[in-house]
């Protein structure tokens, strides 16, 4: 079976810190935080007011009204990021390529906002019917389906829902499909649009959302900040990408997964370590090769200490030579899109020789005693990096990327 090197030839992002990749990267490089008071939902009844929202999003800038009617916001984000990635890759579609291309998307909550709106109709307004497009808008695979229709991609296409690891699992599976020669091109990533009162109330009840901002690895961290958006990548065999003269933005070189098998919400450092080791093994890399880790770094008490311990367990003394940052401090925790947004940040960091910071960092924490690139991006030539995603439910996924 073929064993291709896998090139990233296109990246698209829509997020709270940029509605395209150039805005996104400029924000990461500047350490600009996209956490603001939420505008798209009424937060009057919530204990938190802030989120990382795509600013002034207007679907009519991207879609005809009739088409937008059929798509929840999360599916719209998927297509917007997919369009940018495909345009950047300069793909010339042929019937053969369409048949040999695949799509893997990640989403945690899918179109739950559309579901929430339907439940308001039923239970609050006392109406006896919900909108007939509720089901096709809610289904978590809607992003993948709309991407397939957008580009006419007819090869293997599916969606992975593993909470906060969804997009990393999606990119990893797509990477393996391309590596093994099962597809000639994969469009993969994640999308999420989590801002509706019903969903936010559920997060509020878990008491893991910060009342002010996201401060990963800082001693005074007070929880996560929810985000939204999407990131998609075009993955191709490296030789094929070079043959057609495509710009290569980096490579995915390894993918590792694990399950904690311990607790439905409490993370385990052993599970996180196993996923990082699996990614290194898949990439054929020694731990000492890694120069940067884009951490899961949610800013919760539980994650950041556990992740630090996991990194120390995997890297030993090399952990003190690694740069580690959580870009969630800027784009928020976009759940099922997070892993793709962070893989995009990692690819740009390697390519541009600039490691994005952990923003909002104010107090060192002995439990998180890594070099977390506090507040200011750092120039550094790094060849290999990891991008970590650890989900509620203990399902972990880690990508290894190369410059």
């Amino acid at each position: 079976m073929a064993n291709h090197r896998v090139a990233i030839t296109g990246i698209g992002v829509i997020s709270a810190i940029g509605r395209d990749v150039s805005e996104f990267w400029a924000s990461l490089a500047a350490g600009k935080c996209g956490i603001r008071p939420l505008k798209s939902v009424d937060t009057a009844t919530l204990r938190f007011r802030n989120g990382a929202e795509v600013e002034d999003y207007d679907s009519s800038r991207y879609f005809e009204e009739k088409r937008a009617d059929f798509m929840d916001r999360f599916a719209q984000f998927a297509v917007i990021a997919g369009r940018e990635a495909v345009a950047q890759a300069g793909i010339e579609w042929t019937p053969d390529l369409r048949e040999n291309a695949g799509i893997v998307t990640g989403s945690c909550v899918g179109g739950q906002s559309a579901e929430d709106a339907g439940f308001v109709e039923l239970y609050k307004l006392g109406h006896n019917r919900v909108h007939p497009l509720t089901i096709p808008k809610v289904m978590a695979n809607a992003g993948a389906s709309h991407l397939s229709m957008e580009f006419g991609i007819t090869g293997p296409s599916y969606t992975i829902s593993t909470a906060c690891s969804s997009a990393t699992h999606a990119l990893g599976q797509a990477y393996w499909m391309v590596r093994m020669g099962q597809v000639d091109l994969a469009l993969a990533g994640g999308s999420e649009a989590t801002f509706s009162v019903g969903i936010l109330k559920a997060w509020e009840a878990m008491r893991v959302v910060s009342g002010d901002t996201c401060r990963p690895f800082s001693r005074n961290r007070s929880g996560m900040i929810l985000g939204e958006g999407a990131a998609m990548m075009v993955l191709e065999p490296l030789d094929r990408a070079k043959a057609r003269g495509a710009t290569v933005y980096g490579e995915i070189v390894g993918f590792g997964m694990s399950a904690d098998a311990s607790h439905i919400t409490q993370p385990s450092s052993a599970g996180a370590s196993r996923a990082m080791r699996a990614a290194l093994r898949d990439a054929g890399l020694k731990p000492e090769s890694i120069g940067y880790i884009n951490a899961h770094g949610t800013g919760t008490q539980a994650n950041d200490g556990t992740e630090t311990a996991a990194i120390r367990a995997v890297f030993g003394a090399h952990a003190d030579k690694l740069a580690v940052s959580s870009t969630k401090s800027m784009h928020g925790h976009a759940l099922g899109a997070a892993g793709a947004i962070e893989a995009a940040a990692t690819a740009f960091a390697l390519r541009n020789g600039l490691l994005p910071p952990t923003a909002n960092y104010t107090q060192p924490d002995p439990e998180c005693d890594l070099d977390v690139i506090p507040n200011v991006a750092r120039p550094a030539e790094v060849e290999f990096a990891l991008s970590n995603s650890f989900a509620f439910g203990g399902l972990n996924a880690v990508l290894a990327l190369r410059r």
Binding site: A205, G223, T265, Q266
Partner: protein
């Protein structure tokens, strides 16, 4: 069985949420001894908010490590509620 009705109600919520016998719970019980982890704690707080019609702030919730702190916290919030709205003191 504690004498104070409020303490009894807090114990009842803990017992029901944790699915443990009421008489296993004591005012000096530590969460770790009762097998209460952080998600269990959040579950109990939800039960207490409903039982007493109070709102327990996140910051206060993070400090609670044992049954006594939980009883004291609920007692304080119930007193504050009654001070703000004397009519609610009926139950």
């Amino acid at each position: 069985m504690p004498d104070d009705p409020l303490t009894q109600r807090v114990f009842s919520v803990i017992a029901a949420t944790q699915r443990i016998p009421f008489d296993k719970i004591t005012i000096d019980g530590k969460f770790a001894e009762l097998g209460i982890d952080s998600m269990d704690g959040v579950n109990i707080l939800f039960g207490l908010e409903n039982e007493f019609d109070i709102t327990i702030p996140d910051e206060a919730a993070k400090q609670i490590r044992d049954v006594r702190q939980m009883v004291e916290g609920v007692s304080r919030l119930v007193s504050e509620k009654e001070a703000a709205d004397p009519a609610s003191a009926v139950n």
